[in-house]
Amino acid sequence: MKTYYDPADLKNFGKIGDFQKKLADKFFDYYGETFKEGALTAREKSLIALAVAHTIQCPYCIDAYTVDTMEKGCDEEMMMEAVHVAAAIRSGASLVHSVQMMNKYKELSM
């Protein structure tokens, strides 16, 4: 069955350079540098990436950072908590807008 997403495509991510090498090189350099151990540990960065992957709902990123966080010694509890952080921000972002709804409601009500 044909689908828009093929898990095997993830392995070919590096090939985006075949169509535009200069920009791909810059991107992968930046990407590599971003995930290096820094003020944040590589493990913390990987958990952030896992949470963001769920926010942007990218199946490739979810696969990649599930593996990466597991390799870095995170367990299922840590990983799910990271996703809840993303989910909490997402739902909070919706809910905080309800203040606008409330304001408008009050403005229009007698």
Binding site: K11, A42, M70, E71, K72, G73, D75, E76
Partner: protein, 351 residues
């Protein structure tokens, strides 16, 4: 208790089937994925030893655990153990040659009835040699006759290397069996109590981390820091180093990979993570592995695949340092497990 693949009459208990499955990962047209081709590209083929400074002795497949990933297919139903006569041959080799390390493994080495005698004899021969015992921890609390193992290890200045795949019960038990984590923690406390893992005690306690699933180990140093933190806080347990070891696709781990549908992806990951620096420092270049029956191998993995050393004398009683140093090391697709990422050996990462 889970049975060994051998007791289950599994297809994978036959090494010819294992080798056939492993070889299927080098289909015609993808020869660059063959381990030999990778080594050739790194200027390492044929692979030869650098020197032989470690004698790894597998004293038997008998074990009190049946871990899901075990490359030995060890367990309580395995009866193959090294005889005293074979141990005497090992002692002769130790007497007549110079080694830095004797690395005793199994199974649970302590279950061999001649284990303590063997350790004492090795120590008599060489006061300075580093004797490693790969202890699965739970054996220490298995029954009262093993409770004094920490004192025995201490008396003979043994380096204890113990598997603890994770610092939580769930992930440890899923790999090593129900209740193993709690027993391991008790055993680690007993080792700490006699001085093992304590700074400046001179008693070395190293832990082995290996992934509990179809993924590779991450950075060894980062994992060590995490393990130290997670074992110190709730349990007050200390240890020296963490060795991060990659699971090789043989025996029970191969069985798991196939059953779970992970075999192809895992092999692809190992192959694409090939690291020439790790290849140059693979452990088979400085060790010989002795099987329970005295046969000689390049490493414990080749031992389980019954790939004997390519020399005229293939038994410990026919030891020739000269021949063994000049030999070509036997390789196959499972070797990608030792060259992936930061590399892997019985002493952890290699690069």
């Amino acid at each position: 208790m889970i049975k060994s693949l051998k007791a289950q009459n599994s297809e994978l208990a036959d090494v010819s089937n294992e080798l056939r499955i492993l070889s299927s990962k080098t289909p015609t047209g993808f020869e660059e994925d063959a381990f030999a081709s990778k080594l050739r590209g790194s200027g390492l083929y044929p692979l030869h030893p650098t020197s032989i400074d470690t004698l790894q002795i597998n004293v038997g497949k008998m074990c009190n655990q049946t871990c899901k990933h075990c490359h030995v297919d060890a367990g309580p139903d395995r009866k193959e153990i090294m005889t005293r006569e074979t141990m005497e041959h090992c002692l002769d080799v130790l007497k007549n040659n110079s080694f830095k390390v004797v690395d005793m493994t199994g199974g649970a080495p302590e279950m061999n009835p001649n284990f303590r005698w063997f350790v004492e004899e090795i120590r008599k021969i060489d006061q300075a040699i580093n004797i490693i015992v790969r202890c699965n921890l739970t054996i220490i609390v298995a029954n009262p006759s093993y409770h004094d193992l920490p004192d025995f290890f201490k008396r003979h200045r043994i380096e204890v290397v113990s598997s603890l795949p994770y610092f939580t019960a769930m992930r440890t038990d899923s790999q090593r069996g129900e209740g193993v984590f709690e027993k391991s923690i008790r055993a680690l406390k007993m080792l700490n109590d006699v001085g093992y893992g304590i700074q400046d005690s001179g008693l070395i306690l190293n832990l082995v981390y290996n992934p509990s699933g179809a993924f590779l180990p991450g950075d060894q140093k980062a994992l060590e820091m995490e393990f130290k933190k997670k074992l110190k806080e709730p349990y007050n347990i200390v240890f020296n180093q963490l060795f991060a070891i990659t699971n090789l696709p043989i025996s029970r781990f191969l069985d798991y990979l196939i059953r779970s549908g992970n075999f192809d992806d895992y092999m692809d990951k190992l192959i694409s993570s090939y690291n020439p620096a790790a290849a140059a420092s693979v452990m088979c270049r400085n060790m010989i592995s002795v099987g329970w029956d005295g046969n000689l191998y390049d490493c414990d993995f080749n031992q389980m695949l019954e790939l004997q050393v390519e020399t005229t004398g293939q038994h410990i009683s026919q030891w020739s340092t000269e021949d063994l140093t000049a030999r070509e090391i036997q390789i196959n697709q499972h070797c990608f497990g030792c060259t992936a990422g930061a590399g892997s050996s019985c002493g952890g990462a290699t690069s």
